[in-house]
């Protein structure tokens, strides 16, 4: 059963999915500087996955990207987020122990309106990556499970 969509949808998807994924990773990476963050960037990347899955169906996956792998990655993201939250438990839960420490992402930002420093934010960039990984793989695994389940139901 070939559950692809029309040639218009497939062509537009081929053009736009790369740009969408790059923009989503940009939003995650610059989450502590520009509007957006882990959740928003993960949702953008997941929308690119959704576009691919809806346009081409599950035939293009070829078993390489099943929802077991995505589910594992989602749990890795959740545990990384929780671990980063527990890392500051000496002060308080969710305390930012890397900010202004001089370590990685530990730079200070000048006060007032400015363009921002990428090497700043403490644990915020790591949490952005953890939540972004969690959101993108979680939503992609929901869609893959729905598509595979519906296809198997249709094949009965």
């Amino acid at each position: 059963m070939n559950n692809q969509m029309s040639v218009i949808v497939r062509t537009i998807t081929r053009i736009t999915y790369g740009l969408t994924i790059v923009f989503g990773f940009y939003v995650i990476m610059h989450g502590h500087l520009t509007p957006g963050g882990g959740f928003q960037g993960g949702a953008v990347v997941a929308s690119a996955f959704a576009l691919l899955l809806v346009a081409f169906g599950t035939a293009g996956l070829k078993g390489k990207l099943n929802h077991h792998l995505l589910q594992t990655l989602e749990e890795v993201g959740a545990l990384a987020f929780l671990g980063l939250a527990f890392a500051g438990i000496g002060t308080a839960f969710f305390a930012n122990l890397l900010a202004n420490s001089g370590a990685v992402f530990g730079g200070a930002v000048p006060a007032g309106p400015n363009a921002g420093v990428l090497n700043s934010g403490g644990t915020l960039p790591f949490m952005n990556w953890a939540v972004g990984l969690k959101v993108m793989t979680g939503i992609a695994s929901i869609l893959i499970a729905m598509l595979i389940g519906l296809r198997k139901e249709a094949a009965e």
Partner: protein, 91 residues
């Protein structure tokens, strides 16, 4: 009868919404700006992040984000549980 009840409910809700809209504050003047002023003044020095919204979401109000992550995890587990049942029935 059903149509009259629906019209009554619609008018009731619309009246309350219009009442709320009439009492709305002007844009950009919150009821209490205490926490807003604190976040805007101290987020750059304390969290070293220019995006104050991310500083609030991931640092000052981290528990909210933890709850949101839990909701997403529960949604994923629920959907996978439903469709896994479907696949095992098929075998």
């Amino acid at each position: 009868m059903k149509r009259a009840v629906l019209a009554a409910v619609f008018l009731f809700v619309a009246a309350f919404l219009l009442l709320a809209a009439a009492q709305m504050r002007p844009f950009g003047s919150p009821a209490s700006a205490l926490m807003d002023d604190y976040f805007l003044a101290n987020a750059q020095a304390e969290v070293a992040a220019n995006n104050v919204v991310t500083a609030v979401v991931f640092d000052y109000r981290g528990f909210d984000t933890l709850g949101e992550a839990t909701v997403l995890f529960a949604a994923v587990v629920g959907v996978l549980a439903v469709f896994r049942k479907l696949r095992e029935d098929e075998r």
